[in-house]
Symmetry: C2
Subunit: 249 residues, 2 copies
Amino acid sequence: MAGQAEEGRRVRLNRERVLAAAVALADEAGIDSLSMRRLAQELGVVPMALYKHVANKEELLDAMVDVLVAEIDPPAGGAGWKSAIRQRVLSARRVLLRHPWARQVLESRTRQTPAVLGYTDSFIGMFLAGGFSVDLTHHVMHALGSRMWGFTQELFDAPAGPKADAPAVPPEALAAMFRQMAERYPNVARVAMAAAHEEGSVVGHGCDDQFEFEFALDLLLDGFERLHQQGWTSRQAKPARMPPASTGT
Amino acid sequence: MAGQAEEGRRVRLNRERVLAAAVALADEAGIDSLSMRRLAQELGVVPMALYKHVANKEELLDAMVDVLVAEIDPPAGGAGWKSAIRQRVLSARRVLLRHPWARQVLESRTRQTPAVLGYTDSFIGMFLAGGFSVDLTHHVMHALGSRMWGFTQELFDAPAGPKADAPAVPPEALAAMFRQMAERYPNVARVAMAAAHEEGSVVGHGCDDQFEFEFALDLLLDGFERLHQQGWTSRQAKPARMPPASTGT
DNA sequence: ACGCTAGGTGTACGTTGTACGCTTGTCAAG
DNA sequence: CTTGACAAGCGTACAACGTACACCTAGCGT
């Protein structure tokens, strides 16, 4: 009578089922909808049942990151460090784009799970294998930063949540709003105008994120390559061609 | 008898006092401790009183970002785009370091307040004034990303919350843990070892964050300069020396 | 002296993570 | 087949959160 299950009924829960459901829920309903209660409901189970399979929500999120990492392609062999890293990063990016919640969760994580450490380790290994000194590797890893995961701090775009929440903008008031913005923020307006072919949105939508990402990635990789070829090995050891640090005034 | 106020007693609340208290609380107790209730308590007031001065917590956080932006030095004039931008970014970074919560809050913000737009606008203006094309400016702004705010996705360091939460690590078990890690993640271990002069921490503490930041910043700025000097103006207009995008295999 | 309004109060609701103890399903050993 | 133990799932409960809503009140212009 309680009518609890929708289908298969008594399929024992386990860690994988919990993780898969969590990822699916986050994919479909957004990370903000991922509460222990909601997840439990999705699994036809009482909230506290989850705690038999994950220690707490933090650990759940950590585990979800591990799922993510497992989706990234293994390093491609034999084509030189530059293209190997490029491919790896773009693979990571593809994963990230499949899971809109990934960026936010990755940013919030503070614990380094084995899977994350493994990814980092293999990533560092690619530079070392390419002949980079330990020091240079260290620095370029920092320079890559979150780009290692295939994402960038996107400062312009929408929260990617429930779409189409532009409820009832008066069709012409928008133009006025835009004109006012162009007046107050002329420079933003110029680049936004230039980039907005597709949508007539107010600010900077309609630019090719993938192009922007690869543009910056290649800029960095080229920089790395130059340093490496110039024999840069360590901060103090050989300031032959360090980035010219024009110190202040 | 109720013993409510600690000192000045009936000093009328206002928006500035609320904001200042919020910033101070976040600075001292960490952003996680900044709840409306805790903030109200800090001000000797009932939680709901705050809502007469800020619309809700989101707006509070937005306003806190505005406080931050106001602390960043105005653009330095007359020294060329490169050093102007460099100085501005490093000024932003100094602000960020004063307010440990800033990174997390900035990352979470989705609304562009006027102050944020103003900062972005002035930032874009520096590139344009330096002779960058609108398109190139667009791309380099993306490439800068969050570095515009003086921060990077620091993937290695601690949450910066309450310090010294290493409770009672057996003095020698740590060495064993480290040895095990070096075995499983040899590459991480190599760069961590090389960077750890100061502390004997397990992973990558004790590297010079400021150096890492400037290293990457200068790498990018140099890349921008090179593109600019080579006459790069637009994606399709002149592929004279685009970043060599070795597409896939 | 009056009354208007901005500012502060009190209560209450819904939602969150999760501690603790009880019950029940499942399987191995007797 | 019975039994007993252990893992899995349940139910209740609590503290903390953001905030809606109605109320009271202090201080000011008239």
